[in-house]
Symmetry: C2
């Protein structure tokens, strides 16, 4: 954490300990809500409770701080206070955040809060709740300004004067009489054009927009691709219903990247660092079970080659190399695919080329390392570091291990490339396909091919 924030956090902790609440209030007033939300996470439960009760002196600030926290944490905090108070705080939060917090409250408290909110607001919240939270409809802001195309720039500026509370975007969206999105102008144009200019004469009519059901990741990618600061959200008949701003999409991009990381590692999609040991166990165990099942299958494969291994015990010493090299090269391929698909560098329409290239790379890498390992085995035997007490000589064992590495690595790149692409084709998240599943498949296939090669060359 930046030095200044670190200092603030320590000051706040000290003042809480000393119960110096008036000083504390002053400090909180001067501290940015995002900073309070940030260092809040490093406080003890007692410190958190104190801080939260002090914060509530200023409802606006409380709302801003909460808007910067994880929704599930916010819900937990709010459940400690009265529904009336919850409602007051929620009413100060942007509608999209408000909805997410309510969605995380216990059903009973959520109902109480919904009843307390004014009928109109509830309708708005219910509207938003109707959209999947991972779509444009779920993350959009419904408090925006839409200007009629017939207005002049002077009229428009007056509308701005009359709407001090509306979140302001860099762009102003222009609609016709039936609220269809017809254009966009920037705040800047409003300033530099003469006052009697009609909006329709200066607006850009090719508006980049998304539908309410567009996936949030696609929304974020469009905002990033076109370098825009906000994107309007429309219904099927092109009626403007909300705006997603760039700062919401940053959170989306970051969360999606984190999710992909965690999925690939097999730790679910939630950040469990701050959760209890028990919840961590619950999230991480199932993925390890897949790995265990795979490992037992591999054990069974090895078990069925037991007489071969009894004959040449040295072969089992190379099992970790076979598994390790296959696993690592396979994860390289899988990672390239998963990330390439996520960032749009790999297009699902053109996967043939990518697959062929990765298979070539796997073949070449397998060949290099297979030869390298065969040669290494020979050298080690020559200097006496490797001995075989069976009838099979080191050269043959070197050849077997070399071929085993080659086949394991070749299989691994092919499987590691194919599985994510195949899942993407089926519209299943490729990040889920990776981690434990790919490595487990590679373990079994790699070990199996190694032992088949060994038994066919020896018997």
């Amino acid at each position: 954490m930046p030095v200044q924030m670190q200092k603030n956090a320590e000051t706040v902790k000290r003042l809480i300990r000393r119960e110096a609440y008036s000083n504390l209030s002053k400090i909180l007033k001067k501290t940015h809500p995002a900073d309070i939300a940030y260092f809040y996470r490093f406080f003890t439960p007692q410190e958190r409770a104190k801080l939260f009760s002090l914060l509530q002196e200023d409802i606006d600030k409380t709302a801003e701080v909460l808007a910067n926290m994880e929704f599930i944490d916010v819900a937990q905090l709010l459940e400690t206070i009265q529904p009336e108070k919850i409602t007051k705080i929620l009413q100060k939060m942007p509608p999209d955040d408000r909805v997410d917090v309510i969605g995380n409250l216990s059903e009973e408290i959520a109902d109480a809060v919904m009843q307390l909110m004014k009928a109109t607001e509830t309708a708005e919240v219910e509207d938003l709740l109707g959209y999947d939270e991972n779509t444009a409809g779920g993350i959009m802001n419904t408090e925006y300004l839409a200007l009629n195309e017939e207005l002049t720039t002077k009229d428009a500026i007056e509308v701005l004067h009359r709407s001090p509370d509306v979140e302001m975007f860099f762009y102003l969206y222009v609609v016709d009489d039936r609220n269809h999105l017809v254009g966009v102008i920037s705040l800047r144009q409003l300033i530099v054009k003469p006052g009697n200019t009609k909006l329709e004469s200066i607006m850009e009519t090719e508006v980049i927009s998304v539908h309410t059901n567009t996936d949030q990741e696609e929304v974020a990618q469009q905002v990033a691709r076109y370098n825009i600061l906000a994107i309007p959200v429309v219904t099927d008949d092109n009626k403007l219903v909300g705006v997603v701003s760039v700062d919401d999409t940053i959170d989306v991009l970051r969360d999606e990247a984190t999710e992909d990381f965690l999925k690939m590692a097999g730790t679910g999609t939630e950040e469990i660092i701050e959760q209890s040991v028990f919840s961590s166990l619950k999230v991480r165990s199932p993925w390890l079970l897949a790995s265990l099942a795979g490992g037992l299958i591999a054990a069974n494969v090895i078990h069925s080659f037991e007489s071969l291994l009894e004959q040449i015990i040295l072969l089992s010493a190379f099992l970790p190399v076979i598994i390790g090299m296959g696993g690592n090269v396979g994860i390289q391929s899988t990672t390239l695919m998963v990330r390439g698909l996520a960032t749009g560098r790999i297009d699902i329409k053109h996967i043939g080329k990518v697959l062929v290239k990765e298979i070539k790379v796997g073949f070449a890498l397998g060949l290099c390392y297979g030869i390298l390992l065969s040669v290494l085995a020979l050298i080690l035997a020559n200097v006496g570091l490797l001995t075989s007490d069976s009838n099979t000589g080191i050269p043959l064992i070197g050849l077997i291990v070399g071929l085993g590495i080659f086949s394991s690595m070749f299989i691994a790149t092919t499987v590691g490339t194919f599985i994510p692409l195949f899942f993407a084709k089926l519209k299943i998240d490729p990040a889920l396909a990776s981690g434990p599943f790919v490595t487990t498949a590679i373990d079994i296939l790699g070990v199996g091919s190694y032992l088949i090669i060994a038994s066919s060359l020896i018997n």
Copy 2:
């Protein structure tokens, strides 16, 4: 790729094949520069060359398209045309992009271009080249508006009128007579306040800013944390020298996430999907070498327990489970650490707590799976699926494998958590510490502890 873009791309390809250049020009005129840059990647070299020569009819559009492409690709394209033409196109690009493109040109062409540019512009470019490209100074935009604090809102609006070419941000930065950053106002305030209001009376004086040498990742994190659309860049003595806008930071966040993915998988930091098989080999090989070395050490460890394995050949069948479970649980821990450190969820000042928690999780997971595997071994032996032809009974082997899994998983979580945190403490990128290194260390330690347990329980 979205359906509409797909259609556009196919139309452009068809028109190029038919050499229908006048239709093509019309289509290109209507297509968003970011879209052209995007589908350009899926074209053949011949199609690319045609497209590029047609594009050049419109220098502005060309500059916009290039600004949406990877700098290295842009440099390759530009090197096919005359330096005079290159200079014309570059002058239409934002200074920060311009600098990155010049940095990717061959030295000879870069020199020619620099000489052709006007003296002032070159000075500006050289200024930027002086900053590390991964810092605020390297990504900032130097064409921005700074308003003197003595101006009124009416004066400020006039300044906007007179500066049609300057990139406009949502915020306007306010400076004193010596260009020190003293405040910020939003375009919106400029519109809604009376015309004779002095800027200094309405400006926000607590401006969030970064230094020229602030790391780009920290810049991006601040923009994301405070939900702002742009952040000013200042020198050590608080003089305003540039602005980083939110769309630049989106690219930073995305690139940093991709880099972390690739580093963890051990495929360097560059995206190599579109590179040749040979360059892929070059990038991926070194990391696999680390894995090979680790595998050979593990082979040596096993080799030294050869007489034990000869005695109970069944023990080697469980090597893949020991390695696999350790590897997977270790990668879970490492991923949680690397991502947590990157997103700021884990603070380097508070790693003790995280480490202790992960060690507890590793202990618990190891215990669960160790017991599970012991029990499974007993069941399998009872139904006749597992047989031991040695003097050692299945119950003892089950106990050994169970203890082996426990120690391998416990070691793996500890190592997988400790190594990234340790690297972060040393200010070495923790993503680099992961992938091959962590798994290799875990392989050796896991196999070693399993065999030590086995030999101490049997002899």
